[in-house]
């Protein structure tokens, strides 16, 4: 049974961050297990009270109310009065925070977000194609060659080194792994076929897309989302400029023109990696390798890779832009937009690659 005797707290001479921890423990011990406690608080001896002292008094008030008791301030000093007068608290119950979404609501929200994102992508695609077409024929809304060139340098030229290096390493690795198997069957010469087709149809476009998604797709999302946060995109709209035309068209053209060129670089370096393994490890002559490669590779293989590269470029640029334009919040939102643009682009690129593989397989 609960103790019905009143609880008296008489604090002083200081009620500050030094003494509050002890007073807090004192409250917890005195009120533990009590129902409807009658609490008297005496602050007459307090000659110094800081914010933590005022917070302690408020906590005591709340705890007494929670335990359905009563609190009476039996006396206070000037210092206590001044500190308690300084701070204000809600006298009514605050609006409760929104309840977390339930299972089905979460699923519904995810579906709505996915559909919204798809609609956004379609709008961005049509806007960009519309303004690109208009920019090519209309003198007044012509595409600024300087802006496109700048994007070509940033997306294309500055990526040549990393694309070349990674493609060379992948070419060397794939060739080395294959060479061991081929040698067992005396089929060394077919390394040229394997490397040529695998690199031009699959590895070249895919390696390039993965590197560009990480390097340029993230940059597109970060730039656009920062511009949204700092109201630069709103400023463009107020000036009567369509943000898709101003921000997206140069990036779209830049990546569409450079991605196939980067893919050619990736193809060349990947095949060169295979050539190095073939001539050093499998003792195939350079002439034999080239002859075999030329006879194995068809124009269609090269074109398949190049068509894929343009599709991958579009996925990267539109996903980056969509994540950028849809950003919410501040710096954290920019980080999220950037991360999600890379993840979604990579998924999109790999899904598109699978789709193309099926298409070309059954198309043959």
């Amino acid at each position: 049974m609960s103790d019905p005797s009143p609880v008296e707290f008489s604090w002083g001479p200081t009620l500050d961050r030094e003494s509050v921890p002890d007073r807090y423990r004192e409250i917890q011990q005195a009120l533990r297990g009590r129902t409807a406690p009658e609490v008297r608080l005496d602050l007459r001896a307090v000659n110094r009270m800081d914010s933590s002292g005022a917070a302690l008094c408020h906590l005591l008030h709340q705890q007494v109310l929670r335990q359905k008791g009563t609190l009476r301030l039996v006396g206070d000093s000037d210092a206590a009065r001044e500190a308690l007068s300084l701070f204000r608290v809600a006298s009514k119950e605050p609006v409760p925070p929104r309840a977390p979404a339930g299972f089905f609501q979460s699923i519904g929200d995810s579906v709505v977000r996915a559909v919204t994102a798809l609609v956004d992508l379609l709008v961005l695609l049509t806007d960009t194609l519309h303004f690109t077409g208009k920019g090519l024929v209309s003198r007044r809304e012509r595409i600024k060659a300087g802006a496109v060139l700048e994007q070509m340098v940033r997306i294309g030229l500055e990526s040549v080194g990393i694309v070349a290096l990674v493609s060379l390493l992948v070419g060397l690795t794939v060739a080395l792994q294959s060479a061991y198997q081929l040698r067992q069957f005396g089929a060394n010469i077919y390394l040229a076929d394997l490397i040529g087709i695998a690199i031009t149809r699959e590895m070249g476009p895919l390696i390039t897309a993965i590197l560009i998604a990480g390097r340029s797709g993230s940059s597109i999302a970060a730039e656009i989302s920062t511009m949204v946060i700092t109201e630069e995109v709103d400023a463009l709209r107020v000036m009567g400029l369509n943000p898709s035309r101003f921000l997206l068209v140069p990036r779209f053209l830049g990546i569409s023109l450079t991605q196939p060129l980067l893919t050619v670089v990736a193809d060349s370096l990947g095949i060169f990696g295979g050539f190095v393994i073939a001539t050093t490890y499998l003792d195939i002559s350079a002439r034999a390798f080239v002859d075999q490669l030329v006879s194995a590779l068809m124009v269609k293989d090269l074109m398949t890779g190049l068509v894929k590269s343009v599709a991958f470029a579009w996925i990267i640029v539109f996903v980056g832009a969509q994540r950028g334009f849809r950003v919410t919040g501040g710096a954290e939102g920019v980080g999220k937009a950037t991360t999600s643009s890379v993840v979604i682009s990579l998924f999109g690129v790999i899904a598109a690659d699978a789709f193309f593989s099926l298409l070309f397989y059954f198309g043959d």
Partner: protein
């Protein structure tokens, strides 16, 4: 349109973000060739009002018409022409950070006029000189102080000599002489180009110097007063009286001091 006619007509406007209404059932008219100050406590919807006027935010209900046109309802072909008649100075400037000040100010001129490039460059120089930034013409926004960025943004907002210039706290963060220079510039723009200027400000001296009319928004986006400044001083609404008398404002409803709470003297 006569001078006394409103260039902006806001009729029963309710607008907000997500499911939170910021402006509620607001009806005001901004009169042409006058300076209107929009005042009110933080979060009352002053910047939201500007976004509704320029069509960046669609009203939930009601309408906003600028020179007879609802900007939020215009199509892509007609909107740029209508927006060319409106200039907006954003609270943080919103300059394009990747290009220098010169290009920021030149951008609307290039997009909306067929002026030769030398003329555009001359206008840019004149506008920047007017806001005291001729020395910073080739600097990037990141190289400017907060006050300089705001002045550069003002130069951009007035690049096309718009009929309607909206300024969101133009003199916040500026030293008093520079703020007074900007006030004088706003007055000159009104008198020379018969420009309608709407200014969000918290500074009483600035309101007294430039404003013909004042719109006073209260907490929760409700309208307390809209009309001439001289009559606002006689407005009996406590928030408006406190503002003009520079008295401490009324505390937020539903709060009481800790002392009153402990003494059980809070109103329920």
């Amino acid at each position: 349109m006569a001078d006394a006619d409103p260039i902006v007509v806001i009729d029963r406007l309710t607008a907000g973000y997500g499911d939170r209404a910021i402006l509620k059932d607001l009806s005001i008219g901004i009169r042409q060739a006058r300076v209107t100050a929009v005042v009110g406590p933080s979060g009352c919807g002053k910047s939201t009002l500007f976004k509704c006027i320029v069509g960046l935010l669609r009203p939930w209900s009601g309408s906003v018409r600028v020179a007879g046109q609802d900007l939020a309802a215009l199509d892509e072909d007609r909107l740029p022409r209508a927006l060319a008649r409106v200039g907006l100075l954003f609270q943080q400037g919103a300059l394009l950070n990747s290009v220098p000040v010169r290009e920021n100010v030149a951008l609307p001129l290039r997009e909306h006029t067929g002026l030769p490039e030398p003329v555009i460059q001359e206008i840019v120089a004149l506008k920047l000189e007017a806001v005291g930034l001729s020395h910073a013409i080739d600097l990037l926004p990141a190289e400017l102080s907060g006050g300089m960025r705001k002045r550069a943004a003002l130069a951009r907002a007035m690049a096309l000599d718009p009929d309607l210039l909206l300024c969101d706290e133009p003199s916040a963060g500026l030293d008093p002489p520079t703020a007074a220079d900007l006030d004088a510039l706003i007055l000159r723009l009104k008198e020379t180009f018969r420009m309608t200027v709407v200014v969000v400000t918290h500074e009483l001296p600035s309101i007294e110097m430039i404003a013909d009319d004042v719109v006073f928004l209260g907490r929760g986006g409700v309208l307390h007063y809209a009309g001439p400044v001289a009559e606002a001083r006689r407005c009996p609404i406590p928030e408006v009286m406190d503002f003009f008398a520079r008295r401490p404002g009324t505390r937020e409803e539903g709060t009481c001091s800790l002392l009153d709470l402990m003494r059980q003297e809070c109103e329920s």
